[in-house]
């Protein structure tokens, strides 16, 4: 495999400055990060640490002010034009006047796929996220968790090798959240896509990721990168000592010092 295909995201010395009247705001500085193909990486940190900004730079929704950023060996801009990634946001961002099927097929429609091919792909994706019976519904008839599953299906529509997710489960209740985490772990494994996942939940980051990237604000930067080495993601994992150990490690990295009562949630 060529280098380009094995490395999904490569950031070197990436910085982002937002100009403001009261002085420039340094949202991100000196970010070095490599995400391999098929790898699940979470970005975690307090508000203002630049985790969402970094994701937006990778997605080419904003442009980096400094440094080098490559997605599959191309510029972020080219990767966006080539549709190398799929993206999901905290708000599901479904178009309310389209049905579930209409929302899932939106990217396919924009890229000129034929109606018949779209229908087949939508059926496949609806099956994947367990919404086969709901394809004709409109978003306002779905629960928040179901809307988010539609958004994930839409992100997967073009079979991207990279999935970018900005706190997709942030607005959901704990039960739905854990359920969707397991679903996402399964989908990521099934599709073999690399995932960059922004969250501020430590257990969520640990449960899902191969590596957890800990970030810190003012200025936004990476302070630690922790591998999890947890193997298969299943419900038993949530109760395992190894999992709690990693949760503690991430928490300590976040707070910058050992936390005494580590088992406190």
């Amino acid at each position: 495999m060529s280098d380009d295909a094995r490395i999904a995201v490569r950031a070197a010395g990436v910085g982002k400055i937002f100009p403001a009247k009261a002085g420039d705001v340094v949202a991100l500085t000196e970010v070095d990060l490599t995400v391999s193909a098929g790898e699940f990486v979470s970005l975690i940190g307090p508000s203002g640490c630049g985790k969402s900004t970094l994701l937006r730079l990778i997605a080419d929704l904003d442009a980096a002010t400094s440094g080098e950023l490559e997605v599959f060996g191309k510029s972020a801009h080219q990767a966006r034009i080539d549709q190398d990634y799929g993206i999901a946001f905290q708000q599901a961002g479904l178009l309310p006047w389209r049905t579930v099927a209409g929302n899932i097929e939106l990217p396919l429609e924009l890229h000129g796929m034929s109606r018949a091919a779209r229908a087949a792909r939508v059926a496949e994706l609806a099956e994947l996220v367990g919404l086969t019976d709901f394809v004709d519904r409109h978003p306002d008839q779905l629960s928040g968790g179901m809307q988010q599953r539609v958004a994930i299906a839409r992100a997967l529509a073009e079979q991207p090798r990279l999935l970018l997710m900005d706190e997709p489960f942030g607005a959901l209740d704990e039960m739905t959240r854990e359920y969707l985490q397991s679903e996402l772990a399964r989908i990521a494994a099934d599709t073999g896509a690399a995932v960059v996942f922004v969250t501020h939940s430590i257990p969520e980051a640990v449960f899902l990721s191969d590596r957890v990237v800990v970030m810190s604000p003012r200025p936004g930067r990476i302070t630690a990168i922790l591998p999890t080495d947890l193997g298969e993601r299943d419900e038993a994992l949530r109760e395992s000592p190894a999992y709690f150990e990693r949760v503690t490690a991430v928490r300590e990295a976040l707070h910058g010092a050992p936390v005494e009562r580590a088992n406190e949630r």
């Binding site: 997605a59 080419d60 929704l61 966006r80 034009i81 080539d82 549709q83 990634y85 993206i87 946001f89 708000q91 961002g93 178009l95 309310p96 006047w97 939106l106 990217p107 429609e109 924009l110 890229h111 409109h138 306002d140 008839q141």
Partner: protein, 260 residues
């Protein structure tokens, strides 16, 4: 329509029967005052007399309705097209928005009726153009305001999504901006349809050709044929109601998301 959903609707028959009951009560009161007690002023005819005139003069009322309705429709169409084009330009460019905003504000506060005699004189006594212009100006404002607001209704998350999907400007307009603006256009159209009819009708009070519903109402009211004047009023109501129903129906069909 929102009211229907927030207020608990009663049984279906109540919603149909309730307004009919109100109508019958008003009619009964009207007949009581005019026909039974005979305490009404001379200018208020009996509803029976009004219906009688409607039946007797259906042909000429119909002709005048056609004149006024045509003026209102032409005004509505022209006003709508100009409003959509200008709102599109204003949404696309800040400087154009800055130029149009004070102009539209000025048009919105002009009592359109005030310029009607001028327009009628300007275009001569045989031209419907002045009346149509008044209807167009009146229809323009609600459409412009609503469409401009509608074109600005896209969510940031939806714009991000279109950008992330590498959509072109035209694709974004068709898949996102336009559908988001459509309900606003239709709301504007519903409001403008009533306004256009009122404007076209009132414009007839201030000169121009001697035809149309408004002219007839003024003429017959002055010459003491109150019942016929009221018959023409009914004709005016019919035009406004027809346009309102059609535009409401279109609005409902297009904005329907949940077939309940």
């Amino acid at each position: 329509m929102t009211l229907d959903r927030t207020l608990r609707p009663g049984p279906a028959w109540v919603r149909v029967v309730a307004p009919i009951v109100v109508g019958v009560l008003i009619l009964a009161l009207w007949m009581l005052v005019v026909d039974v007690l005979r305490i009404a002023p001379r200018a208020l005819p009996s509803p029976v007399a009004v219906v009688n005139e409607i039946v007797l003069h259906a042909d000429i009322i119909g002709e005048d309705m056609a004149i006024t309705a045509t003026n209102a429709l032409i005004g509505l169409a022209v006003g709508t097209i100009v409003a959509i084009v200008l709102a599109g330009l204003a949404a696309a460019s800040r400087p154009i928005d800055g130029m149009l905003a004070p102009l539209v504000a000025a048009i919105a506060v002009i009592p359109i009726v005030a310029i009607t005699p001028i327009l009628n004189t300007m275009y001569g006594a045989s031209s419907q153009f002045g009346r149509q212009s008044v209807a167009a100006i009146a229809a323009f404002v609600p459409i412009f305001v609503n469409v401009l607001r509608g074109l600005r209704q896209t969510d940031p998350v939806h714009r991000d999504l279109m950008r992330a999907s590498a959509a072109t400007g035209l694709q974004t307009f068709r898949a996102l901006t336009l559908p988001a603006a459509l309900p606003y256009l239709l709301t504007g159209l519903r409001i403008a349809s009533s306004v256009a009819v009122i404007a076209a009708l009132v414009a007839e009070y201030f000169g121009g050709p001697a035809d149309g519903i408004g002219t007839a109402i003024a003429t017959y009211a002055k010459s003491g044929r109150a019942a016929l004047a009221f018959a023409y009023v009914a004709g005016g109501i019919a035009i406004g109601l027809a346009l309102f129903l059609v535009t409401s129906l279109i609005e409902r069909l297009v904005t329907r998301r949940t077939p309940v």
